[in-house]
């Protein structure tokens, strides 16, 4: 089995953690099996296994990341002679640490399994492991007493295993494996409370919609495999599934354009499905039917970025296949841009806090896609990184609110408001993350999102830069709205300590559900404290919930500095460690047994100089020379300019403030019942004091924004979304069922089956028709006999004479 080990050449240079990164997904996989079989007998019902496994893989991931950083540093300090010059500045070339073993082989083709570790993989590894750990800890409290507590942790752990194995997949087959396992877990977790058919339907819809995309994954993989296999075998000695092989092939300039294009399109369809891009995004909001930890792990920070990850992972394929290099509008940018706006608008009209976050997720994924499409590889990946923290934090905070504040309701308008005082920690973390998401300097979101917008414009997609800015404005606005509705204003419903009866009905008889179909009595099952706090109103959540919130909020504050472009190149650590270098490298002579590692040769002559930002050189602009391959296109980076940053910051600020004003005005005016006079006055007074032209602002907001944006457009968009796009998705099911019914009844039963039974009937019929011959009359028998003889004789006599 253990064939095709990578060359030892690199093994000594890389550290243990890097060498054995492939263990990372195996730990949770094993944990999953253990939980399934023994979980229920364990003291903590298996959850401890889950958490432990996640911690373990987190440690391993961090170790690997650390060693990777060392490796890069060594390289850049010339410790290793692997230096090449490409795209202008000196960048160390450190090949990915690839180890691949033959998994199975068929018809002369080898299918490997193993690891492909580089900056991108490590980023995702750390993020996934980290968020999973926190979410599982959070769930310990959040799902306490749930009837399928063990199943829940089993599924979460299996999900992590799938995601991790996908992240470090060295080839497409393993990637598909992880990809589909994630889909399965998403199905199981969304449908965690399947007693409610609504949840079951949501689960089904999620799986099915994503599956539609996966069709593209299968086809694309197949097409690229056969197109690339010969080349990769010849040049790198790896199969056409191998990711680095595919990348090099795509960059080699020898790839057939048509196959590249079709393959890239097919793969991108899969990404659309998985990352909830327009028009396959409708499953994501429905997926909120799942428990909040699930939403925060799968449906905001990790699983849904798989599509983005795939694009980033096979970047050269998309680069060449969808012509990212050129500035004419390409598919990915288009989809990304449309998604940003559509989703952001939709976020305005949600009253369910999780739905707001869901649409916000969709629109943020849109940013990432747009960035990738526009050639802003690094910012996009960086946005994956930062977004994970604050979006996870937001979801967990929302969960915390419903858990301890709103009595398991997620309805901002009915059951929330004014919770800031009651739940300070939750509120603080929420607000920090909101600002981060909105992209306020110097929080995490700013550094990533602003970079994306900036580079999109820099790469010639001015129109989409504007879309990005608009998106930033909308983001700020709707998040403010959500914040206001949840934490400020007058407490309403459950937040005010009211008890809804259905909340209680659920306590007796496990099966019934509160009609939101949410976590409500999930926690209810056995956990009586709810009745208590139900009695004495909202309060801060317990430690197990708040600690993860705090950690995440802290990261939402600081994560941005890992790649703080504004402060100069020395701050661009993330870029240094994650972005692959567009170098021409000479693969070492290949052993037939397996993939060879790419050893870099110094090649200063071909490494063409280029102005920072104007790098129209490096590979992807000229085909590599004989025997050389190149794993990554030279992308150009926009130079940071405070002016541009200031613009976007201003827009964000406008969004925040105006939205705040709007909320106060709007909700105050519309629902006097809800908003106390004092507060209204105070706010108004504040506005009066500080903003001389408040009426102007106010009026502008009322007339322009609200009338123009919030109501018609947003609602129109929402209507379109629910009735047209979603209608199509759901309708597809119905239609196919109808066709199926028709085909079955008319074709199968009538024609095909009918033909068969018909022939039988025909046989019997002829039999019946022949019976009169057997009349029973001797003379007729005789006549028949002689007639036959005579005719036969006659014919033959004629024939023979």
């Amino acid at each position: 089995m253990l064939a095709a080990e990578t060359s030892q050449a690199m093994s000594h240079s890389a550290g243990w953690f890097l060498e054995h990164a492939w263990v990372i997904p195996i730990i949770p996989a094993v944990a999953f099996a253990l939980i399934i079989f023994f979980g229920k007998r364990l003291p903590m019902k298996g959850s401890e296994l889950g958490v432990a496994s996640m911690v373990a893989s987190l440690v391993l991931s961090l170790g690997a990341a650390w060693q990777w950083i060392q490796k890069i540093n060594d390289a850049s300090e010339g410790g290793v002679a692997h230096l090449t010059r490409a795209a202008g500045e000196k960048t160390p070339f450190v090949g990915p640490i690839i180890r691949e073993w033959t998994w199975w082989q068929s018809g002369g083709f080898e299918f490997g399994i193993g690891q492909h570790i580089d900056g991108l993989a490590l980023t995702l590894l750390v993020v996934v492991a980290f968020i999973s750990t926190l979410v599982q800890i959070y769930s310990l409290e959040y799902l306490k007493g749930d009837r399928r507590y063990t199943h829940f942790f089993a599924a979460l752990t299996l999900f992590s295993a799938g995601m991790l194995s996908m992240v470090l997949a060295p080839n497409m087959v393993q990637l598909i494996l992880g990809w589909e396992i994630m889909g399965l877990c998403s199905f199981m977790l969304i449908g965690h409370w399947w007693e409610d058919q609504a949840n079951a339907r949501a689960a089904l819809k999620a799986f099915f919609t994503v599956r539609v995309g996966d069709m593209g994954l299968l086809i694309g993989t197949g097409a690229l495999f056969f197109a690339a296999n010969n080349w990769t075998q010849a040049n790198l000695g790896v199969s056409g599934f191998n990711i680095s092989g595919l990348s090099a092939w795509a960059m080699s300039g020898e790839a057939s354009k048509s196959v590249l294009t079709w393959g890239a399109v097919a793969l991108f369809i899969a990404c659309i499905g998985k990352s909830g891009q327009f028009p396959l995004h409708t499953w994501l909001p429905d997926a909120m039917a799942g428990p909040t930890p699930v939403s925060s792990l799968l449906h905001s920070s990790t699983m849904v970025v798989a599509g983005v990850f795939l694009v980033a992972r096979l970047y050269p394929v998309f680069w060449e296949g969808l012509r990212i290099g050129d500035t004419d509008i390409n598919f990915i940018v288009l989809i990304g841009g449309v998604t940003i706006v559509i989703a952001a608008l939709l976020a305005f009209v949600q009253s369910d806090i999780k739905k707001v976050l869901a649409y916000s997720t969709v629109s943020q994924l849109g940013y990432m896609m747009m960035g990738l499409g526009a050639g802003a590889w690094l910012p996009a990946v960086f946005h994956i990184f930062t977004h994970a923290f604050f979006k996870a934090c937001l979801f967990l905070a929302a969960g915390s609110v419903s858990h301890s504040g709103s009595h398991h309701s997620f309805d901002m308008k009915k059951d929330m408001g004014g919770l800031a005082k009651k739940m300070p920690i939750t509120a603080t973390t929420w607000i920090i993350s909101t600002l981060a998401l909105a992209g306020v300097f110097p929080l995490a979101g700013f550094f990533s999102k602003d970079e994306i917008i900036d580079n999109v414009g820099h790469n010639g997609y001015q129109a989409f830069m504007i879309v990005g800015l608009g998106g930033a404005f909308l983001t700020a606005a709707y998040m403010t709205r959500a914040t206001y509705l949840t934490f400020f204003g007058e407490a309403r419903g459950a937040a005010a300590g009211e008890h809804h009866d259905h909340g209680h009905a659920t306590d007796h008889g496990h099966d019934a559900h509160d009609d939101h179909g949410h976590d409500a009595h999930a926690a209810h099952g056995a956990h009586d404290s709810h009745d208590d706090h139900g009695a004495h109103g909202p309060h801060e959540s317990p430690k197990l919930i708040t600690i993860p919130l705090v950690i995440l909020a802290f990261l939402a504050l600081t994560a941005g500095f890992t790649n703080a472009v504004p402060f100069g190149a020395s701050w661009e650590r993330f870029k240094k460690y994650v972005e692959p270098s567009p170098a021409f490298v000479m693969p070492e002579p290949v052993k037939a047994s397996g993939p060879g590692e790419a050893i870099v040769i110094l090649d200063s002559t071909r490494a063409s100089e280029g102005e920072e930002g104007e790098a129209k050189s490096g590979c992807s602009y000229q085909a590599p020379a004989e025997g050389e391959v190149c794993y990554f296109p030279a992308v150009s980076h926009a130079k940071f300019k405070w002016s541009k940053a200031a613009l976007s910051l201003a827009i964000v600020a406008l969004g925040l403030v105006s939205s705040w004003m709007f909320c106060v005005q709007y909700y105050t005016r519309r629902n006097r019942r809800l908003v106390g006079l004092t507060q209204r006055n105070s706010v108004l007074r504040g506005g009066y004091t500080f903003l001389a032209n408040k009426y102007y602002l106010d009026a502008l907001y009322e007339k322009v924004i609200v009338r123009a944006v919030a109501h018609p457009i947003a609602r129109g968009a929402y209507w379109f979304n629910q009735n047209v796009i979603d209608g199509i998705v759901n309708g597809a099911g119905k239609i196919s069922r109808r066709t199926a019914g028709w085909v079955y009844r008319n074709i199968d039963q009538r024609v095909v089956d009918g033909a068969v039974n018909g022939s039988g009937a025909a046989a019997r019929g002829t039999g019946g028709a022949l019976r009169p011959v057997q009349s029973g009359k001797v003379n007729q028998y005789g006549a028949l006999l002689f007639a036959a003889a005579a005719i036969g004789a006659l014919v033959l006599v004629i024939v023979n004479t």
Partner: protein, 505 residues
């Protein structure tokens, strides 16, 4: 004038090889013996005649075996008019064993029906003698005589139940049509004699050649002759008598007719075609092709509609006859002659085993059901599993399902046809294939009754099967299975059965 002719041919007594005709002699002696015994035993002892008949048949089998082992080369009597070759011996053996089984079937039936036992067995033996002679006849005259020899007693047996209208009707229809057919055949024979100047088949074979003057008369003669035997093998459209006769006649007699007399017809047909008019294949091949196709198809289609099992079996045996005709329809083409002959013999052997077995089961089951309606066999498996399984075996074999005897017969037939390998051959092969499927329609229908339907009027007491029937069932069942699993044995018989003088060999 006669004197002058006699003057031309001086008379000398022919030398007779008594060993060669020992079987016939034994049978003849047996007939006389049984008549005598019948005269002297009392009514209560009449069953002796049955056992005696059995012994006579087995006794007649002995010389057949001795002849088989004695010396390979064929014995020819009366300058080639009566030949004992392996072909003849194989079929003689077949007739004798089939006859023996029929006796076993008849025993209780005739006894309980209190028919004229002595006469019954006498006639049975006589008819068998005719068949045994038929196997060796190589001359128009002897063929004709043998034919009538085996037919006339059969007419009487068909009408055996004197008081039963159906039985009379069966007899009369069989008789009239039979006589009419043989008359037509005789006319053909007379013409054949006229154009060739001889009644000796081998001589006729020498006379009728393709290149020689070959006119309408020849064709007419051959067709009429073939018609005669087509009637005997109940080939469509000369089959009309079969269903009525089979239904009306006593079941053992039906078994006898459907197996032995059909086989006899084929024997004669093969002899005439192979020895007599092999060169005239342009005449008889198309004719038989049409007959075979019609026989298979019509037989099957009509069988689908039957509710009476015996009548259903009648039609089934008609379509089986079509399968036997199938290889003959291309026997003249290419080197298919050998395989075709082999296929016919093999089919006859297997068919005898399974069809007799089928009738045995029907007789045994009918002892309780007291009815010939297929529906009356409902739930047979539940209360008489033994009979149920046996019936299933025979039906499956008739349907040609491996590993039962039927399939090897069908296989041999298809093989012979495809050996010819021209368009006609493939055509008839496909027709045969389709028909073998249709056939299961009615065989499966009976199986369904036996296995899947409840017993009508809750009739579920176990069936008491008399020893003779058990014996018959054992013989036939064992034969059916054995032939299916180890077809080599029966195929070797087919191989041995080379026909002296066939195609000028």
């Amino acid at each position: 004038m006669l004197a002058s002719i006699l003057a031309q041919v001086p008379w000398q007594a022919p030398s007779i090889d008594y060993h060669a005709i020992a079987p016939e002699i034994v049978l003849a002696a047996g007939i006389v013996l049984i008549i005598l015994v019948d005269l002297f035993v009392g009514e209560s002892k009449k069953w002796v005649t049955a056992s005696l008949t059995g012994f006579v048949l087995l006794g007649a089998l002995i010389p057949v075996l001795t002849l088989a082992v004695s010396d390979p080369d064929a014995r020819s009597l009366f300058d080639g008019r009566y030949v004992i070759d392996e072909y003849a011996l194989t079929l003689k053996a077949l007739f004798l064993i089939a006859g023996y089984v029929v006796v076993l079937l008849s025993q209780n039936h005739v006894e309980e029906g209190d028919y004229y036992q002595g006469e019954y067995y006498t006639l049975l033996l006589t008819s068998l003698t005719g068949m045994v002679m038929m196997a060796s006849s190589r001359d128009l005259v002897s063929i004709f005589v043998a034919l009538e020899f085996l037919s006339i007693p059969a007419y009487m047996l068909a009408a055996w139940r004197k008081r039963d209208r159906k039985s009379n009707e069966a007899g009369v229809k069989y008789y009239l049509l039979g006589v009419f057919a043989s008359a037509v055949m005789l006319y053909g024979m007379s013409l054949l004699y006229g154009v060739t100047g001889s009644t000796l088949l081998s001589e006729i074979g020498r006379q009728i050649t393709v290149d020689g003057d070959f006119g309408g008369v020849h064709a007419l003669a051959i067709v009429f002759v073939v018609v005669g035997f087509a009637f005997k093998v109940s080939a469509v459209p000369f089959h009309t008598w079969a269903p009525d006769t089979y239904e009306g006649a006593p079941t053992p007699v039906t078994a006898f007719l459907s197996v032995a007399s059909k086989a006899a017809g084929f024997v004669a047909l093969v002899t005439i075609l192979y020895v007599g008019v092999p060169q005239a294949k342009d005449v008889w091949q198309p004719f038989l092709w049409v007959l075979a196709a019609l026989t298979m198809t019509v037989g099957n289609l009509l069988a689908l509609r039957q509710s009476n099992i015996v009548r259903m079996l009648a039609y089934s045996s008609i379509s089986q006859g079509g399968f036997i005709l199938m290889p003959l329809a291309v026997a003249g083409t290419g080197d298919a002659a050998g395989p075709a002959l082999q296929a016919v013999v093999v089919y006859l052997l297997v068919y005898a085993a399974m069809n007799l077995g089928m009738f045995a089961v029907v007789i045994a089951a009918a002892r309780t059901t007291r009815s010939g309606e297929i529906s009356s066999f409902g739930g047979l498996f539940s209360y008489a599993p033994g009979l149920g399984v046996l019936m299933t075996i025979f039906l499956a074999s008739l349907a040609g399902i491996p590993p039962l005897g039927g399939w090897i017969a069908k296989f041999a037939a298809f093989r012979a046809v495809l050996e010819a390998g021209n368009g006609w051959a493939y055509g008839i092969a496909v027709i045969g294939a389709v028909n073998s499927v249709i056939a299961f329609g009615y065989y499966g229908n009976v199986m369904r009754e036996v296995w899947m339907k409840p017993a009508p009027n809750g009739e579920t007491r176990a069936v008491a099967t008399p020893t003779s029937l058990v014996a018959a069932l054992t013989i036939t069942g064992a034969a059916t299975l054995l032939l299916g699993v180890l077809p080599g044995t029966v195929l070797r018989f087919g191989d041995l059965a080379d026909l002296v003088g066939a195609f000028g060999r």
